[in-house]
C-alpha cells in the first residue's frame, strides 16, 4: 500500500463542539501524526465552504483518506462521502470521528474532552489508513411496493405510489379499509364529516388499477433486502366471496350468534357474519370464524341457506401468498389505551364511562344511535357530560408518559357537537393544559371555550365512581384550588393513544425498531422522519407517534415519496462494506456457512467459502466464527480493529 496521506478536518459545529473541545488542539495533535498529510479546522464542516475545504485539500494534498472529526456518522457520513467523491476521492476512504455526540455533548471538562476527542480521531485515522476504495454493489429491484395498514395514512401512501405508475399491495388486517378515521363522526377543526372525506379515498384505492387491496390479511414474515424484499402475507378466510356478495344482509338477519361490534366499540352487537359499516371496502360481508357456531365441522350454516347468490363458502382456508416488493411502508396506526387499565375512572366497569372513539360512534349519524346522543346504560340523553382529558397520557408514574396530541382537539369537538345536539346540555372538561398547535386549532378551542355551557376546569379528575344512581366525578380545580365533586350523566375519557398491539411483532419481523413507548422508530427524529433504519422500509402515521389526520396524511405522502424515489431508480446500490473470503487461508470448514443469517455464504466448487455480496449485510458474524481469519469485513478487518484498539489505549 502506498504511504497514507490522510486529511483530518475538525469541525467546531458552531459552539457545539468548540465549547468543550479545543478543536485547534485536536487539529494540532493530529498534525503530528505520521500518516496525516493535512489538517484543518472550521466552524461548520458540513456547510458548503466547509465541504469546499475538504474538496480542495483532497486535490491540493493528494489525500488518500479523510477523517472528519465532527458529529455522528449517522448524521453526516453521506454528506462528507459525497463531497470527497466530487473531488475524486473514493467515498469509502472517508470516515467520521464522532467528537460531538460521543464527546463534546457529554463531557464538561475541556481538557478531558479534548484528550478524548484526539483519541477518537486517531482511532479513525488508524482505520482509514487501511481502508480500500470500494464500488457499491449494483442490484436490480422489483417494481412493487407494499403498504401495511389500510387506514388513512396507508391509503394516502398507496395512492401516491400508485399514481406514479408503480404497483402497490395494500394490506389491511381488518375486514375493511378505513381504519379509525371511518369511526369518526366529524373532524376538527373544520367539522367536515369524516366518512364523507374518507370513503371516496377508500373507493379510489380499491379501484386503482395499480393497487391490489388485501383486507383481512396480515404480513407474517419478511425476508430479503431493499429492492427485493419477499413479504409473506396470510390472507385469512372471510368465508364470503366478495364478488358474489350483493350486500342484501339476509345472512346477518338469520345468524344466531352475536358478539360485540368492534366498529361500534362494543356499544352494540353485531352478528358472526357482518359488514363493519355500510361503506366498507371491499363491500362484502365477512364471517368471523371465532364468533361463528362452527365452520369445521359445519354445525349451523343458516347464513349459507339464505344466501341467494351463493357467496358463502365454508371451505375457504387461510392462504399464504409471497410477494416480492422493493419497498415497504408501515402505517399500522394506533389503538386507544384500554379503559380497563383506568380503574380510577371506573373504566370497563361503569357503562356510562366511555372512551373518545365510543363517543364518536354515539355522535355519528351512522352510529348505533343514529346520531342521537344516548348514554349506554339506559339510552337516556345525558344532560351533563364530563370529559376527562389526558386519561392515561402524561402520567409517567401510572400510565403513559407521552402526550397523545389529538385529545385536546377532539374533546373540544365532542363538547361542541354534543352542545349542538343537546341544546340544554352542559359539557364539563377536565384538562391539564390545552395543546392546540395546528392550523386553525387555537381558534377552534376558543370557539369551544366561548360556549357558555362548556366549562373548562383546569385540573385532573382523580376518580369517577358510582354512588347509588349517581355518577360522580372527583377532581381539583387547580386554578381556584377547590376540590370538585360533580355529578355526570356520562363520562368520556380521552384515553391515551398507543401503537396498535400488532406493532411490536411486525416491527420485529421487519427488523425495524420501536421506541420506548412502542411507537415505530424513525431514522432521525427531524431529518429522516419517515424512514426506518432499515433501507427500503418507511414508517408513517399514528404508529410512528400520536398524530392528527393532516399530519398522518402528510407522513403517508412523505413515505410514498421516499418509496417512489427508490422505485424510480434503474438499479439500487448495496453497501460494498461486506465480507470477503481469503481463499488461500480458508480451510473449507463451513462454520461460516452455517452461521450466516442471510444465507450469503456457501462452499464453492473448490471447497472453500464464497460470499454473495448482494445477500451479505456485513454483520461480521462469520468473521467472529471463522477459525482461520479467512473471512474479513471490508474496511473493518481484524487488523484494522486491532490498530484502532492500539491507538485507543495509547497515551495522548
Amino acid at each position: 500500500m502506498p504511504t497514507p496521506r490522510i486529511g483530518v478536518f475538525v469541525c467546531h459545529c458552531g459552539l457545539n463542539i468548540e465549547r468543550t473541545v479545543d478543536t485547534r488542539a485536536v487539529a494540532e495533535a493530529l498534525s503530528r501524526h505520521p500518516a496525516v498529510a493535512h489538517v484543518a479546522d472550521y466552524d461548520y464542516m458540513c456547510s458548503d465552504p466547509g465541504q469546499g475545504l475538504i474538496r480542495e485539500a483532497i486535490d491540493a494534498h493528494r489525500l488518500t483518506g479523510v477523517v472528519v472529526a465532527a458529529c455522528s456518522p449517522a448524521m453526516h457520513e453521506p454528506t462528507f462521502r459525497r463531497a470527497a467523491e466530487e473531488a475524486g476521492l473514493n467515498p469509502y476512504l472517508v470516515e467520521m470521528a464522532n467528537i460531538r455526540e460521543h464527546c463534546s455533548w457529554v463531557h464538561h471538562d475541556r481538557a478531558e474532552a479534548t484528550r478524548k476527542a484526539i483519541v477518537i480521531t486517531r482511532t479513525l485515522v488508524e482505520k482509514v489508513k487501511r481502508n480500500h476504495p470500494l464500488e457499491p454493489v449494483e442490484i436490480d429491484h422489483v417494481d412493487q411496493c407494499l403498504v401495511i395498514g389500510g387506514g388513512i395514512t396507508g391509503i394516502q401512501a398507496a395512492l401516491d405510489v400508485a399514481e406514479s405508475g408503480f404497483q402497490v399491495i395494500l394490506v389491511e388486517k381488518g375486514p375493511s379499509l378505513g381504519g379509525h378515521m371511518a369511526q369518526l363522526s366529524e373532524t376538527f377543526p373544520t367539522l367536515d364529516c369524516s366518512q364523507c372525506i374518507l370513503t371516496p379515498k377508500m373507493v379510489e384505492a380499491a379501484r386503482h388499477p395499480n393497487i391490489r387491496v388485501m383486507t383481512y390479511s396480515e404480513v407474517v414474515g419478511v425476508s430479503g433486502y431493499v429492492g427485493n424484499y419477499v413479504a409473506k402475507i396470510r390472507k385469512n378466510p372471510t368465508y364470503v366471496d366478495p364478488d358474489k356478495c350483493n350486500l342484501c344482509g339476509e345472512c346477518a338477519v338469520v345468524c344466531p350468534q352475536s358478539v360485540k361490534s368492534e366498529f361500534d366499540r362494543g356499544l352494540v352487537e353485531r352478528k358472526a357474519i357482518y359488514i363493519p359499516f355500510q361503506q366498507a371496502i371491499p363491500s362484502s360481508y365477512t364471517l368471523d370464524e371465532d364468533a361463528c357456531l362452527g365452520i369445521r365441522p359445519l354445525r349451523c350454516s343458516e347464513c349459507a341457506k339464505v344466501c341467494e347468490p351463493g357467496a358463502i363458502d365454508f371451505d375457504m382456508r387461510p392462504e399464504i401468498v409471497e410477494e416480492e416488493v422493493a419497498a415497504i411502508i408501515v402505517a399500522t396506526g394506533y389503538e386507544l389505551y384500554s379503559p380497563t387499565r383506568l380503574g380510577e375512572y371506573g373504566g370497563g366497569e361503569i357503562a356510562d364511562v366511555i372512551d373518545g372513539l365510543q363517543f364518536e360512534r354515539i355522535l355519528s349519524a351512522s352510529g348505533p344511535t343514529g346520531g342521537a346522543i344516548r348514554r349506554p346504560s339506559d339510552g337516556r340523553t345525558p344532560k351533563r357530560v364530563v370529559f376527562v382529558q389526558c386519561a392515561g397520557s402524561r402520567d409517567p408514574e401510572n400510565h403513559n408518559a407521552h402526550c397523545s396530541r389529538v385529545c385536546c382537539m377532539y374533546t373540544a369537538k365532542h363538547a361542541l357537537l354534543y352542545r349542538h345536539a343537546v341544546p340544554d346540555g352542559e359539557a364539563v372538561i377536565f384538562y391539564i393544559d390545552i395543546r392546540a398547535g395546528g392550523k386553525g386549532y387555537e381558534e377552534f378551542i376558543q370557539h369551544a371555550t366561548e360556549d357558555e355551557r362548556i366549562l373548562y376546569l383546569r385540573g385532573k379528575a382523580a376518580r369517577v365512581y358510582r354512588d347509588g344512581d349517581r355518577l360522580v366525578v372527583w377532581g381539583v380545580d387547580t386554578l381556584s384550588g377547590r376540590r370538585i365533586e360533580i355529578d355526570a350523566d356520562l363520562v368520556v375519557l380521552a384515553t391515551s393513544i398507543e401503537p396498535h398491539p400488532s406493532t411490536a411483532a411486525l416491527a420485529k419481523a421487519l427488523k425495524i425498531g420501536c421506541g420506548s413507548e412502542g411507537f415505530l422508530k424513525e431514522a432521525h427524529p427531524k431529518l429522516r422522519p419517515v424512514e426506518s433504519l432499515t433501507a427500503g422500509i418507511f414508517v408513517a402515521g399514528a404508529g410512528q407517534g400520536p398524530k392528527d389526520i393532516p399530519d398522518a396524511v402528510a407522513q403517508g405522502s412523505g413515505a410514498a415519496a421516499k418509496a417512489i424515489s427508490l422505485l424510480a431508480r434503474e438499479t439500487l446500490t448495496h453497501s460494498p462494506e461486506v465480507v470477503t473470503i481469503d481463499e488461500s487461508v480458508c480451510g473449507g470448514c463451513g462454520v461460516c456457512v452455517a452461521m450466516c443469517p442471510y444465507s450469503a455464504l456457501s462452499r464453492n466448487g473448490a471447497g472453500v467459502a464464497e460470499c454473495n455480496e448482494v445477500l451479505c449485510e456485513g454483520c461480521g458474524t462469520c468473521v467472529s466464527a471463522c477459525p482461520t481469519g479467512a473471512a474479513q469485513l471490508r474496511n473493518m478487518t481484524d487488523a484494522q480493529v486491532r490498530g484502532m484498539i492500539e491507538v485507543a489505549l495509547a497515551d495522548v
Binding site: 460531538r100 455533548w105 487501511r130 427488523k511 461480521g620 469485513l633 485507543a648
Partner: protein
C-alpha cells in the same frame, strides 16, 4: 474535578453495535447526558462481530475494561448476532477468570437506540466498577508481545 489527579482513571474500550448501542450513545449525546470520559467507543456493525481475540487484544494493550454494547435479545439488526455475542462473552469471561483476570473487566450490555439514559448509566457504572477492580495486570504480563505487524 479536584480529585481527578489522585484517582485511578481506568482506560476502557467500548465496542458498540452500529444499530442499537452506538445510536443509544448518540441519543445520550443529543440529550446532553453526561458521563465519565474514560471510554473510547469503537463502532462495529454488530456485537456478534466482536471476537474473543479483539477483546483479549484490548486487555493485552492496556484496557482496564472492555464494554460490548449490542441490541436487546430479539432486536438484533442482523437477526441473531447478539445471541452469538452473549455466548461468546460468557465463555470468554469464564476463561478470563480461570486465567486469573477479573471477569468484571469484560461486560456485555444491551442498549437500544432509544436508551440514551441506559447508555449514560452503563458508562458511569462500568467506569466506577473498573475503578474498584483496579488497574489491569495484563499489560505487564504480556509486555514482550511485539507490535502489531499486520497491514
Amino acid at each position: 474535578m479536584s480529585d481527578r489527579t489522585d484517582r485511578f482513571e481506568p482506560k476502557i474500550v467500548a465496542f458498540l453495535c452500529r444499530w442499537c448501542s452506538y445510536a443509544g450513545a448518540d441519543l445520550a449525546g443529543v440529550s446532553r447526558l453526561s458521563y465519565p470520559p474514560n471510554v473510547i467507543p469503537i463502532r462495529v456493525n454488530c456485537s456478534g462481530r466482536v471476537t474473543a481475540g479483539i477483546v483479549l487484544r484490548a486487555l493485552e494493550r492496556g484496557a482496564d475494561g472492555v464494554l460490548i454494547g449490542g441490541c436487546h435479545p430479539g432486536d438484533c439488526h442482523y437477526v441473531s448476532g447478539n445471541y452469538k455475542a452473549r455466548r461468546r462473552i460468557a465463555l470468554l469471561r469464564r476463561a478470563l477468570e480461570e486465567s486469573g483476570i477479573d471477569p468484571r473487566r469484560v461486560r456485555l450490555e444491551w442498549i437500544s437506540a432509544s436508551e440514551g439514559m441506559k447508555f449514560q448509566r452503563t458508562i458511569a457504572a462500568f467506569t466506577d466498577e473498573i475503578r474498584t477492580v483496579g488497574r489491569s495486570p495484563v499489560p505487564e504480563t504480556t509486555a514482550e508481545v511485539g507490535a502489531d505487524a499486520e497491514g
